[in-house]
């Protein structure tokens, strides 16, 4: 059996590992357009901040490909999929054949679509090359940095460079930062905190042009004002790389549509990771949850199915974790509900904030700022749709932890199949 995997990040590598675990004799080829392999994209902001070096970006051992007997084609782009001949056309003019294919092509930063975006000193932070470029540039007398976008990527970049003492301005179109992740009240706590460390958020504004001759010298905002800066980082989110899939007529929407077994709409092709649009556990709708843990899990499930072990994908859960200058925040599930029938519970102290979104006695989502240690406990209540009608006050309390929900787990024990849950229940 010949397996081909397009993409060498979280989904691609976890799939390789799983296929090799099941099928010792299979031919496995992994193709990625990046030369620097096996690094964790999510760690790039830590590289930028100077808290780790390039060696520590690696999330697999150096001999990962050899040990798993995987033919890795690095720095090679797949230009065409021929689904009839079961063949991939590569940028090095070679062709490789496959019996089963995984498309884990990931996503790329969205562009602003404004004049001047091609000037030197304008970056996104998605690849190691981007990070090297920013580091290189920031060592050349850069003092002022404009970050376009106040989402997770924008905030992580702001932290990384703010941490190094640059003067940071974050330009946010909406009335708050992290608008995809949480509602305003939580975001305001974070905004006030990062301001103390020199990160200034300018809300309700957008850049309309990037100025400079060859190199960036500033930006023009939509209120007509000019802002001087030597470095611009675009953090407007990512778009899945669906072109290859579209070319062969696979069903796509935002990403490549996957069924409950992560198969794409044609025989012999599966999809996983940031390009995959699969079921969301909480809403039940198909969504691209572009998250590291989801990509790893999807890679594994897709691989199991590819290798003939039919395994249903339970679904992904929207969640995020962020730490800015020592203030942690985690959100899971539906945090900004649309429509009626939701009950919102909040509690706030000087340095922590908790917000729970409840509907029909079930926890749908939550946001924690400051004190986050119990995030995963809320997570399993959300994931398993546990009835929390008598527990609303307990969920909000400061001393909430796993022990507090043990009665709920006992009541709906059939939903908690993992042996660890059952072991704890043995004496309760």
């Amino acid at each position: 059996m010949r397996y081909c995997i397009i993409g060498g990040s979280a989904a691609g590598t976890s799939a390789c590992e799983m296929i090799r675990g099941i099928d010792k004799k299979a031919d496995i080829t992994l193709i990625t357009d990046e030369k620097f392999a096996l690094y964790s994209r999510c760690l790039l902001s830590y590289l930028l901040a100077g808290s780790i070096n390039e060696d520590k970006l690696k999330f697999k051992e150096k001999d990962f490909f050899e040990r798993n007997k995987i033919e890795a084609l690095l720095g090679v782009r797949v230009e065409k999929i021929d689904s009839k001949k079961r063949e991939l056309g590569l940028s090095n003019k070679k062709k490789v054949t496959f019996d089963r294919l995984l498309i884990a092509t990931g996503a790329r930063p969205k562009e602003m679509g404004i004049p001047g975006e091609d000037k030197k000193g304008v970056f996104a932070l998605r690849t190691i090359e981007d990070a090297r470029g920013i580091l290189n540039r920031s060592n050349k007398g850069v003092k002022r940095v404009a970050i376009l976008g106040g989402g997770l990527i924008g905030m992580r970049d702001a932290y990384a460079l703010g941490h190094k003492g640059f003067d940071i301005k974050v330009i946010v179109k909406s009335g708050q930062i992290l608008s995809q992740m949480m509602e305003k009240e939580g975001a305001e706590i974070i905004e006030a905190h990062i301001k103390k460390f020199g990160v200034d958020v300018m809300k309700g504004l957008a850049a309309t042009e990037i100025l400079g001759k060859d190199e960036v010298s500033g930006i023009i905002l939509d209120n007509g004002n000019k802002l001087d800066c030597e470095l611009v980082i675009v953090g407007k989110g990512v778009a899945p790389n669906i072109e290859l899939a579209k070319d062969i007529g696979l069903a796509t929407k935002e990403g490549i549509i996957a069924d409950d077994y992560l198969a794409a709409s044609q025989d012999g092709i599966w999809t996983a990771g940031d390009v995959c649009e699969a079921k969301d556990l909480v809403t039940g709708e198909k969504t691209v949850n572009a998250l590291w843990p989801c990509a790893v899990e999807q890679g594994r499930v897709a691989a199991l199915n590819m290798a003939g072990k039919k395994t249903k994908y339970e679904g992904s859960q929207s969640m995020n974790s962020l730490d800015l200058f020592g203030l942690s925040t985690i959100s899971i599930g539906v945090t900004k509900p649309k429509g009626a029938g939701y009950e919102i519970l909040t509690s706030k102290t000087e340095n922590s904030y908790k917000r729970l979104v409840i509907k029909g006695d079930i926890l749908w989502g939550m946001t924690l700022v400051g004190k986050v240690e119990n995030a995963g406990v809320y997570g399993i209540l959300i994931r398993n749709k546990i009835n929390i009608s008598d527990y609303k006050k307990i969920l909000l309390r400061d001393d909430f932890n796993y022990a507090k929900i043990l009665p709920l787990i006992k009541k709906e024990a059939q939903k908690f199949c993992k042996p660890e849950f059952q072991d704890i229940l043995l004496t309760y």
């Binding site: 780790i52 999330f59 843990p293 730490d323 240690e373 995030a375 995963g376 997570g379 660890e420």
Partner: protein, 177 residues
Amino acid sequence: MTDKKQKKGVKIFCDITKCLGCKACELACAVEHSKAKELALSIKEKPTPKKRRKVSGVEDKIMSFGCQHCEEAPCVAACMSSAMYKDPVTGETKHDKDKCVGCWMCIMVCPFSAIIQDVTDKVAMKCDLCPDNEDYACVAACPTNALFSGTPEEFKRRVEEKSSPAALKRTKIKSGV
């Protein structure tokens, strides 16, 4: 390293029927993870040694809990720097402090609230099954034998055996009732 510590699947269990909530396990855990490894000396250490176990009320009962070293560990799958990993021999969920960047993805997915933030070093922290100790500090400190180290099968056997008359008698003698 004792043979017991090399056995696959060994971890710490709590018999909730026996836990009194004395927090001896919490204290022993903090001391075990101090520099001095002795109560009187470790109290004054900076940063203050931290416990990796929690004692908490469950309705009218009390339990002590920590990392379950899950077979399919969500923290390992979620870790983007491979700081969390499984020991291939013992199955223990291990944490490499040097690789950890403090992104808290592990906390986000741990159902047992067993991972703690070490804010001093900005890294995750959890039960490491006492690598510097022949025994397990919390189990050794537990005055009622509520805490037990062993495999899930051994714990199950112990719980079943406990309800036999002979075992009940043994417990009474031990606890001085």
